[in-house]
């Protein structure tokens, strides 16, 4: 039995897939007879250069022993938790500070060609390269994430897809006339695309949005769009919901909209498949495209309201087609090993430094 710490990064008052991943990983490690706990530090996005100090703080932590128990292994997840220094360190990378990498130069990054920003970007990439290379084992939650560290930091890693947190509890029920959107509400998730497409979608179709905002001004922007297009009775913000409610929302939806920009992984895709629902996504949605195939188990569209609107109408007008896509997604998830039993392989790999 080993004592293992899972290192998570907490952005207070928000919850997303990374938090779920950390909690589920601890639970699954414990279920295999080890002792496990989380260590979390908050990350604030105030002055952007302070990200360096926040990363350095992880490296100041003494993680060797707690309560008389010697720690055998740490598993780092999200930036900057992997800056922690420990003799046996596994990394299951959720994502790096993407503003310095793939998001650089897009509207989703606050770094520009200002010499100070360029220096900051360079310091982050230098630091990442050093601390990623010192790990005993490196992996990422999707091909997209692993390709990024290979491309930008010259570090190789395994792809370990996170199994679904609610395993095989998902179900499918009769389709109702709503599209479901699940996830943190922020600009990179692009919920605005489907809100803006609603005027061209048949007017009996509603949009249900699960998730909480984690970006200043984003709700005001969405509400303005809703006012502008007179969509008050067609868009429903549900906030954070219980697991049971989420399963029901998936089960009764017509389809699931999930079209973030260059997503790392996205539980939502697989939750939709487990609920036999097609996924509507965009051709620049990154990790989502590792699973969604156009007209096979979902629709892969241009990231425009126009394309999304026509795509949704297509599913509404041909519900059999929508069901067929959903069934195909379900077949995929069943054969993928991403239901509960997929955890065996993930944990075996993450704990592999213990054997060394």
């Amino acid at each position: 039995m080993a004592n293992i710490l899972v290192l998570g990064v907490k952005i207070p008052f928000t919850k997303g897939g990374a938090e779920t991943l950390v909690a589920t990983l601890v639970k699954e490690i414990k279920a295999r007879g080890h002792d496990a706990d989380t260590v979390e530090l908050p990350l604030s996005f105030g002055a952007k250069e302070h990200i360096l100090g926040q990363a350095a703080l992880w490296r100041t932590l003494d993680l060797n022993a707690f309560g008389g128990k010697e720690v055998d292994l740490v598993i780092a997840t999200k930036f900057p938790s992997y800056y922690a220094s420990f003799p046996k360190k596994s990394i299951w990378l959720v994502h790096q500070h993407r503003a310095a990498y793939d998001l650089y130069g897009t509207r989703f990054s606050d770094l520009s060609d200002d010499p100070r920003d360029e220096s900051l970007r360079r310091l982050i990439t230098d630091g990442d390269r050093k601390v990623l290379a010192e790990a005993s084992y490196v992996s990422g939650i999707s091909k997209n994430v692993v390709e990024r560290i290979n491309r930008y930091n010259d570090v190789k890693g395994d792809v370990l897809y996170p199994p679904l947190p609610l395993g095989s509890q998902y179900r499918s029920e009769e389709q109702q006339d709503y599209i479901l959107s699940v996830g943190r509400i922020c600009s990179i998730k692009r919920v605005d695309l489907i809100i803006k497409s609603l005027p061209m979608i048949h007017n009996f179709v509603k949009l249900k949005i699960v998730g909480t905002p984690d970006e200043p001004g984003v709700m005001e922007y969405y509400k303005n769009e809703i006012d502008k297009h007179h969509l008050w009775d067609r868009v429903e913000f549900l906030g954070r919901v219980s697991d049971e409610d989420l399963i029901s929302l998936y089960a009764n939806s017509l389809a699931v909209y999930y079209a973030p920009f260059d997503e790392d992984y996205g539980y939502v895709t697989l939750e939709a498949f487990a609920s036999k629902k097609p996924v509507i996504t965009a051709n620049d949605s990154g990790g989502v495209l590792e699973f969604v195939q156009h007209e096979k188990n979902g629709l892969v569209l241009d990231p425009t309201s126009d394309a999304i609107g026509h795509g949704v109408n297509r599913l509404i007008e041909d519900k059999q087609f929508a069901s067929k896509l959903g069934e195909e997604g379900y077949r995929f998830i069943q054969s993928s090993g991403l239901l509960e039993h997929g955890w065996d392989q993930v944990i075996e790999k993450l704990l592999s430094p213990l054997k060394a």
């Binding site: 350095a56 490296r59 520009s112 060609d113 200002d114 010499p115 100070r116 360079r122 310091l123």
Partner: protein
Amino acid sequence: MAKNLNKLRVAWFSPLNLDNAKILNGSTAAYFTDQILPIIKEDLTLDLYSDQSGQYLGSKVKNYLSCFDEHRKDPYDVIFYQYEDSKAANFVRLHLGLIPGVTLFHDLLIKEEMPPPLTFSVWPEVVELFNKKTKELPNPYPQPDRGPFAYREVSLSPISLFSSQRLCSEARRLIQNGIGAHSNWSLPKMMPIALPASLSASLKSLNESDQKCNQSGNKVIAFVGSPAIEYRSHKILEAISNLNNISLHWLVDTSEKEEAQNLLNEYNFKNAKLVTDRSPLNWSEVVSKADIALHTLFSVYGTPGPYLPISFSHGVPTIVTNFAEGEYLPQDLVFKITPGDKEAVNLRETISQILLLPDSDLALIKNSLKTYAEENFNPEIIACELKRVFIESAPYLKEIWVRWNEMENSAESKILVRNYDHFDKEVIGPIFRELGWDPSVSLKGNLL
């Protein structure tokens, strides 16, 4: 591989037609690289940078964001960028503001694939700071991108090349205050360089096209352009719809094919062949079989790109619009049409006139076009010109980079000092030093 000390070390930034990949339609930069790089690569030590992953001419393409580290470890002699009105070149636009270099502009006014503004960019202040006109950058970083995009791009390029005479003239007139503006360097800071067109391939097809024209009863008019109004396809169709024994071979983007077909239907013009994938390679194929080439762009934006040199190199009598780029062409080389009310009539008359020319006159035209192409678009000559620019730029760029590095180092120090001010210096100090984030190492200037 051992570094060859006699060869210039060049970082080459360009959208690329990667090995075993689909051709980037509409990328003049990728075309230029295809034409010039194979000639020039033996004379240089080259690293290719792009936002694409893969191989080009058997070499691994490096990610553009890694250039900074590479340049820091082992400085390049020249960093060469190509910039154009295409999403494929967006990464070039980003990097132009990170390390100055020699930039070849294929477009100056960017509109087709309007890139999003660089949020928080402070480029006018960076130029001012570089030129020692100010001591401070705005703080905090509040500035959105400002002004027409190419102002920023040309301002940040100490040496600018233009693949169009007209763009070069406009840039000289409009953009006088860049980071190269105040140097005493003897080489011009803005100069044109032509787009290449391979002559050997053209000469071969020239003979073939003669044969093909004779076999076919119809005369072939080749046209490259979108069905959008500025390419004048509606005027072309109006002009040729009443002419007999004419075929139109029209090269369009795949996405424009339907619109082009609708336009053909509108003018009830049956004798047309739509060729999709608007690439220089396809144009070379199309125009090689033509009796007349049409380059009727009428727009303040854009240029005819490599398509015009290709038509010349095939020796095909060419009609252009007497506007913008067309105005810069020799009067006795091409047939010029003035846009406006009588455009279609003039176009029809000019086409008829060319088709009625005796063989001896046609031979003269072909010969003069071929000579012009040999003198202006020969890839071997252009490669030599570019290499000369690199050789002459290298010492100048070194000067620029000394000043640029001062600015960068000062910026880095500022960032690190702000961290020391905010966090407990005793706690994070040793970690910063371990990670190489040490202001005492990087503090070499105090510009900010």
